[in-house]
Amino acid sequence: MSGKKPDGRKLSRRDLFRVTGAAGAGLALGAGGHAALGRTAGAQDRAAADPAPQIVDFHGVHQAGIATAQQEHLHFAALDLVTEEVSEVRDLLRAWTEAAARMTRGETAGEENSSQFMPPDDTGEALGLSPARLTLTFGFGPSFFEKDGEDRFGLADRRPEALAPPPPLTGDVLDEGRSDGDLCVQACADDPQVAFHAVRNLVRISRGLAVVRWSQLGFGRTASTSKAQTTPRNLMGVKDGTNNIKAENEDLMDRFVWVPEGDGPSWMAGGTYLVARRIRMLIEVWDRVSLGEQEASIGRHKYSGAPIGKEDEFDPVDLEAKDGNGEPLIAPDAHVRLARQSEEEKILRRGYSFTDGFDAERGQLDAGLFFISFQRDPHKQFVPLQERLAANDRLNEYIRHTASALFACPPGARQGGYVGETLFASP
């Protein structure tokens, strides 16, 4: 590239946004001599209130987007590699790291070009928007290491045991085309367009080396991962996940989320495993269920979120409590009972509500929970938990698990390094 930049200025979304913010809306800004950029009032107001927390550092011991207080919007993409060269995979991860770090700072994905004869390096839809606490979290799927019995990149012996594909789970009706993948990127932001922009540009960078296998948009977080956040409601209208691990509790994070040194291959130390499940809710069916049955299925009161028989959302769940007839207040098959039977299975939940419109076959809403959890070992945490739920959960009548994926998220990239670097370094 000839790299002609008339004034050598780098275009930063954040800079623009400050400039336009100071001068008011509708200001045409001469970036590179020709750009006229607007701004988004919503993002503007949010950032004006408190600009600093709009940026989550991409680099660090752990990847961002896990312990980060959960953002409002998700764009998740799983990709399959089409290259057979391990060096090209490394190049891709380097390029992704560079672009990801830039975009999380509110900058364009690549250096700005103003050539009239080429497409712009950045697609542009996030210009003038706030960084929106964008985080980009990358992971490797089981098929990255081995596909159809083939050691694709000479890395099969580095596949952690914890990344073995989960066994078939009761009740799963999985769509293969929406499941699994060699690589994943989880984009979370408080502005859906910022998350979309990030995935779009990362996919564009990967063109020729990888193809999108599936992607999922999520709106509305369904979990709280920080004590500062309230518990949101899912599309069943209930608060589920009150007892989620909170990132401030470093002891729990270390015990249940982060992979410690000595736990499997050393390249995963500081990393974690991501489980994604597309859980479709049978919305029309659920909407015909009486309040009493809805509450009994969950084990919580719908409006307060309190455990059955309690007043407050954060009142402890008492699984032994009985009603006047000696029956358990929280039913034996209630979701909350089955979900918390073992302390060893704690997971960090970070899911989002989703909808993909109407299903043409039934004319019903295709919507539900895009469940995401992070854990130190999915086979010791998510799998036994889900097996128990799949066998007995009263909610099963109202949900279908339609897709599933597992990824190993390596530790965070160091400054000057790239995400996944430890995997490619000598053991």
Binding site: M1, Q116, F117, G208
Partner: protein, 317 residues
């Protein structure tokens, strides 16, 4: 028919050269290019405006008026030579189109349904190789290549009108007039491209546009919806794109070798994907490709089109 009207020839009024145009005798390319280089900047809006006013410009235009409207880019002799090379390619393809169309329309007029069906796919190949250029000249694209619904039904003619009769009704009856019109349209196109003057920018835009043709439309099988001969068109689009790139390649390689290699690998990838569907001298029916096959082909085309879209950097000069 071209999916979008993105493409406007950078050289205004490139059709209908006046009789005195000495570029017809060849060798005038460099002189024209240097004139272009002094022609000043042309904005995108002006280029678009030229598209809509092509006929007027042509009607009243002289050579000098036409060439001063050109975008002042890529004035190097190498780029001018690339444009000359591609002009020859376009003429060659349209000449081939005329020959094949004659055989095809003869078979329609003589009522030979089987022969007409056999010739339909191959006849269209040279058209598909140069479609963006032809589409930028007058009404050739709607007249020759409109699909049903692209134009009002009483104006619908050309390849796809005949295609429908051949495959849906299995007859040539009533198609004789459409065949004669098609032959006439193609002959006029051939005459028109004889004096064609292209700018290097046309090669860059055209090569990407041919791939956009595939990925935005043809991949769904909409182009040849009755005959399912889409692979003839798709392969020809790719060949035409490659022909334009081949002309520019030395310049691209000089500027950015890795980009040139990336584009070459991209073409290799698309050819490899397509080759599995060859059958005899032609191609299998597009119906044989399931959703996954079509997606795999589409992704190969996208993987090629992305680096190809950066080739425009050579025009920076």
């Amino acid at each position: 028919m071209l999916v979008g009207a993105l493409f406007a020839l950078a050289v205004a009024g490139c059709g209908q050269p006046p009789p005195s145009n000495d570029s017809q005798s060849g060798g005038g390319g460099n002189g024209v290019a240097s004139e272009e280089a002094t022609g000043g900047e042309t904005t995108a809006e002006e280029t678009a405006a030229e598209e809509t006013t092509t006929e007027e410009t042509t009607a009243e235009g002289t050579v000098s008026e036409e060439t001063t409207g050109a975008v002042a880019v890529g004035g190097s002799p190498e780029l001018a030579a690339a444009a000359d090379g591609y002009e020859e390619y376009v003429v060659e393809q349209v000449t081939l189109l005329e020959e094949r169309t004659e055989r095809f329309t003869d078979s329609v007029i003589s009522g030979d349904v089987d022969e007409a069906k056999r010739l339909f796919g191959p006849t269209r190949e040279p058209w598909e190789r140069i479609e963006p250029i032809a589409a930028a000249l007058g009404d050739y694209d709607p007249n020759i290549d409109a699909r049903e619904g692209d134009v009002p039904d009483d104006e619908w003619r050309g390849f796809h009108r005949i295609e429908k009769a051949l495959w849906v009704e299995n007859t040539t009856e009533g198609q004789e007039e459409y065949a004669r019109q098609l032959m006439e349209d193609v002959s006029n196109l051939r005459e028109e491209v004889e004096g064609l003057e292209l700018a290097p920018e046309d090669l860059v835009t055209g090569s990407v546009e041919l791939l956009n043709e595939v990925s935005a439309g043809k991949i769904t099988g909409e182009e040849d919806r009755y005959s399912h001969t889409d692979l003839y068109d798709i392969n020809a689009n790719v060949e035409g794109s490659e022909a334009a790139f081949e002309e520019l390649k030395p310049e691209v390689a000089g500027e950015d070798l890795s980009l040139a290699n990336e584009v070459e690998e991209g073409f290799d990838g698309v050819h490899e994907e397509l080759d599995q569907y060859r059958k005899g001298d032609g191609w299998v029916s597009y119906e044989k490709l399931n959703e996954a096959d079509r997606r795999a082909l589409s992704q190969k085309v996208d993987a090629l089109a992305e680096p190809l879209s950066r080739v425009g950097q050579v025009l920076e000069g």
